[in-house]
Symmetry: none
Subunit: 421 residues, 2 copies
Amino acid sequence: MTYISAALFIIGTELTRGVIADKHCQVLASQLTQLGYRVDRMVLVPDDGTIGEVLKECVDTCDIVILTGGLGPTSDDLTRSIVAQMAQVPLVRDQATFDALYARIGERIWGANEQQTMIPQGFAAIPNPYGTAAGFMGIIPEGEREIVCIAMPGPPREMDPMFFDQVLPYLAQLIGHDDFSRSEYSTFLIPEAKLDELCRQATFNGLQWGTRFQDLKISLYLVGGNEEERSEMANRLNSLVGPSLLVAGDIMPAQLLTDLLVERGETISCAESCTSGFIAKLLTDQKGSSAWFYGGAVTYANEAKMAMLGVRDATLQNHGAVSEACVLEMAEGMLKSSNTDWALSVSGIAGPDGGSNEKPVGTVWFGFTSKHRSSAAVRVQLTSYGRDSVRRKASVVALILASQYIKGACLLDTVKKWQYI
Amino acid sequence: MTYISAALFIIGTELTRGVIADKHCQVLASQLTQLGYRVDRMVLVPDDGTIGEVLKECVDTCDIVILTGGLGPTSDDLTRSIVAQMAQVPLVRDQATFDALYARIGERIWGANEQQTMIPQGFAAIPNPYGTAAGFMGIIPEGEREIVCIAMPGPPREMDPMFFDQVLPYLAQLIGHDDFSRSEYSTFLIPEAKLDELCRQATFNGLQWGTRFQDLKISLYLVGGNEEERSEMANRLNSLVGPSLLVAGDIMPAQLLTDLLVERGETISCAESCTSGFIAKLLTDQKGSSAWFYGGAVTYANEAKMAMLGVRDATLQNHGAVSEACVLEMAEGMLKSSNTDWALSVSGIAGPDGGSNEKPVGTVWFGFTSKHRSSAAVRVQLTSYGRDSVRRKASVVALILASQYIKGACLLDTVKKWQYI
């Protein structure tokens, strides 16, 4: 039997009364998806008699049912008896679970907690190092089909380690990842749907992938194969998306730049117009940022560009604030007043209004200067999905281009090779 | 027929793939529970052919089925046709919806968007002021029973107002609340659990409430009673939380300040240390911000405070950067170089390291100055839940205190009355 279709079954009256928000669905669904399972339904139900009926529907249509919750010692925690009923087996004591719990709570085990050492006959107990409720997994026979049923406790601090350490490796084997392993990458500026399409192009030898959108980046998980193969797939992707838009590990865009500065023992300052402080904010998200960050000028008004950075009135008159000349003067003014090793500048049209044919919304100029090398500026046309999207993307571009500039790469070359931003 | 049992049916492949977390279940479940409904299941399914089968199970067992998602213009958005099938009626164009959409997008309506003007025959359209997909509600007959079926779009910015303004009053009537209505408030800096506790204290005559965490604020909905009663409950809350931490309407913290500046035709600039550009970023989130925002100095390093704002070396030596004297010099330096009507400054200890007994992590000084009145500074001790939390809270405090300062309120008084930040 091939196991593909999964159902998540989350039990808790506090969820269906809206007292708390579910925390499991996204974690479980993203991991299952990455392994190649298809999550066909996620069901949240109260701790009451209706569990059996709804669970039956999951068993009828899916190959794997993962339950969380309803394993506590109180009378309304029904999961273990419902699963036993459905598997048509009695509940029996799991001696190892009993012994482990007895070692921890002694004679207090006699009472409600004893119930927590019972599991459906034929199922395997899953130890719970962080609580009193063991999980269990086994088979529910359903005509010709054998449904894999896995039950875990509800509290995230118990469920998460049980799932990641004990259940996930089993599920990886079940779907055919013999040597289950994965590598994590961080990708920038690529729309998630496009990344998925590119992974389809770049995959080979059955390598799988999963993505997770995280604010300023998308995490990419390559799953299966060996490390060399996953790294080869990452190289293929890199050549499709363009330089520096995919890096190994769990990295925020600002870290690309700050790691480099820490390594070199150097400092930076920034002059921002359209991003209006957002780059400075990102550069100081990490602790200890005073080691690399001097500060910056947020020069939103043209008067601010002149007063704080010494941009010339003639430059603004002749070229406008969104121009090569302006961002170069901004960066140079910033470097001069800050005496940092590096300075960057940004000026663009965030919209929604204010664009022209020549400079539509999403047009952004980036400037860079330094004690160590000559200045550079480059224009990038960002696809606009609104003011916020232009400002966020411009900030990420500035951080990536600054690292490229420090490394001595040609910015124009870099930007030309970016395919999908 | 008595309607009690409700099912929530949330559609979106990005949910079952774990790309995003569901945001609707808790909001809908808590509101339905408060009205007296019993939510018997919440089901999340992908945008695919299995929707019909799972929806049938909900219809078989519940009296009310609320769907979100699957109303977009793309081919995998199946909600409207599945509901029509289940109600055994054709899809027909809703002329009012068509006219409203045509008025907004004109000839572009011909194509995928036209589909969004179709609803199951006999259902009522629910206007969507924030998107192209109208919702709809009607009856699915099921033998003797008549199931109420309500479909709304998936994006929270479209679903929330549709639910609260149009669907919730209907559901209240359905279960027997004759005069149902609600008011929305925005609250700042109060932990959600505390807000809930305070609502319990402030409620009377059976007024209900719901909260929703939204990044820099928590939305509070007061439900039931008449407008006067809800406003009285808001007043009681206001006196519990302290001035300006609860305001009527859906307001972001920066708007408190920018609305005031627009009304007065005045401008502001800001000098930031620990918030490092975040306030400048928030002040420019709205379009047209060049009308009120000049720019600012991000003076992270002490050298930056001296070079960009004229803070004196002696001040830094004698009082430190996190001090009344320093934030006053920062604000005054900013006002002088910018020539704006108002200037604000912030300097604090964001952590996680660097605190002392005298100035623990979370200590933040705020400075304000103006052409119109004498300078003021105030110290706030923020509860630290990490660097990010301190910086976000400090930014919100700065925006609120700036509005208070412009209005001529005493800042020390204001801060003293804040109870739970």
